[in-house]
């Protein structure tokens, strides 16, 4: 292909398969380097440190032991560690990205901070949220969802949540435990409690 030729379309997605762990999420178990972990935390990061945890289930309610979740989020001021966010401050080493493979019981967890509010295209604030990409054996393309937080008053006015039928918003809303900064959200790939996935 010549450098100047316009491609006739994108490269299609294929499943991440069952055997991604040694390459993408080795977590010390394989002879490969952990470029990514399930934590976005850096020593100097500001904001409230939180843990988000839950399980991933299939359409039969069976735990998915070979899913991978990736998160992407703003810092506590609602700014992204990407030069395309023109407001980005050259402040911290916070990068806003983490990756977690599910364990044999479908569990995932992330150590991160509660993000700040990010503006929508009209400049109105969105409620604090984290983007999630869901990959798994059996998923031919990854799917996008969001994590919101049940203790955020801004959810009621969030322009993206407003696109979601009210009875499905709970599938996007992590629930804080009473005594500690831990939020829980289970993901259902299919079925009555199916997680809302976005067409983006």
């Amino acid at each position: 292909m010549q450098d100047s030729v316009k491609p006739d379309g994108i490269t299609p997605s294929q499943t991440v398969g069952p055997f991604f762990k040694y390459g993408l999420t080795p977590t010390g178990e394989y002879a490969w380097n952990d470029a990514f972990t399930n934590s976005t935390l850096t020593p100097d990061v500001s904001g409230d440190r939180i843990r988000i945890e839950g399980r991933v289930f299939d359409g039969d309610g069976v735990a998915v032991p070979d899913a991978m979740l990736e998160i992407w989020q703003a810092d506590v001021q609602g700014r992204f560690a990407d030069p395309q966010d023109k407001r980005a401050l050259p402040n911290a080493s916070f990068r806003g990205f983490a990756r977690c493979g599910t364990d044999k019981d479908g569990n995932y967890s992330f150590e991160t901070i509660k993000p700040g509010a990010v503006p929508d295209p009209a400049g109105k604030p969105q409620a604090p949220h984290i983007l999630v990409a869901v990959f798994a054996r059996g998923m031919l393309r990854h799917l996008y969802t969001r994590i919101y937080f049940n203790d955020e008053a801004g959810n009621a006015a969030d322009p993206v949540l407003a696109l979601v039928p009210a009875d499905r918003r709970a599938t996007l809303t992590a629930v804080r435990e009473a005594s500690k900064p831990v939020y829980r959200l289970d993901l259902y790939l299919q079925g009555d409690n199916e997680t809302v996935f976005f067409d983006v």
């Binding site: 994108i10 299609p12 394989y30 031919l140 790939l189």
Partner: protein
């Protein structure tokens, strides 16, 4: 609704439910995806460059004391966007089976030998023009339990970040003229024949190294902001 990255590009992807691929049946959503405008959250993405990659991570034949068995190959190409522009500084991760079709993953039960000199994982970062290059060995085909006598065509798994969280791509690169293509439900989950062809590398004689390694070219095309994709036809 405003999509900065035109959403029609996604028609190249497989549908989530592709019943011939049995594992998709219980893992594909039943409810339609909900369209939403791209906000700053979708338009930005993780930035990982050279600091993520160690010296030699792009040469899978030099990660152990000895050289792995199998056919040494070069895999190279450009990461581009749909408008044809190179995507610079993009992290490309690969993982693959060894030359016998066996993964080092603990749950791979295929009774083919492991190779102590091959892990099968690699990383690199595309250069200023979007160019990337790996040295590895050609992976073997392997059996799987999807249906009677099911074999995956030889493939290398790839993961690419690109400019934003919505350009994220995980795919598989195949080798030209594989006789297993007509029988593989994962390859054939991509509905459009031309789109399937974009997952197949091409033999590159010009960059094949005499007395050393065959070369395959694989261009990875990510969503572009100015794309005006054809509707499905």
């Amino acid at each position: 609704m405003t999509f900065i990255y035109p959403i029609g590009s996604n028609t190249a992807h497989p549908l989530p439910l592709s019943p011939d691929y049995k594992s998709s049946i219980k893992r594909a959503p039943n409810k339609p995806l909900i369209p939403m405008p791209h906000t700053l959250s979708e338009l930005t993405g993780p930035v990982y460059g050279h600091e993520t990659v160690r010296e030699g991570d792009n040469d899978l034949t030099r990660q152990h004391a000895g050289e792995p068995l199998g056919e040494r190959i070069i895999v190279h190409g450009h990461v581009r966007d749909e408008d044809g522009r190179g995507v610079p500084n993009s992290l490309v991760e690969i993982w693959q089976a060894n030359s016998c079709g066996r993964y080092v993953h603990v749950r791979d039960q295929h009774p083919a030998p492991l190779d102590p000199n091959f892990t099968g994982a690699g990383r690199t970062v595309s250069d200023a023009s979007g160019y990337y290059r790996f040295v590895t060995i050609k992976p073997g085909a392997y059996p799987w339990g999807n249906h009677h006598n099911a074999w995956r065509p030889a493939h290398i798994h790839l993961s690419v970040f690109g400019y934003s969280f919505v350009t994220r791509l995980v795919t598989q690169m195949y080798f030209p003229n594989d006789p297993l293509f007509p029988f593989d439900p994962i390859f054939n989950s991509v509905p459009d024949e031309k789109a399937r062809a974009r997952m197949v590398s091409s033999f590159d004689l010009e960059n094949t190294q005499p007395e050393w390694a065959l070369c395959y070219r694989f261009d990875i095309v990510l969503r572009g902001k100015d794309a005006t994709p054809m509707e499905n036809h």
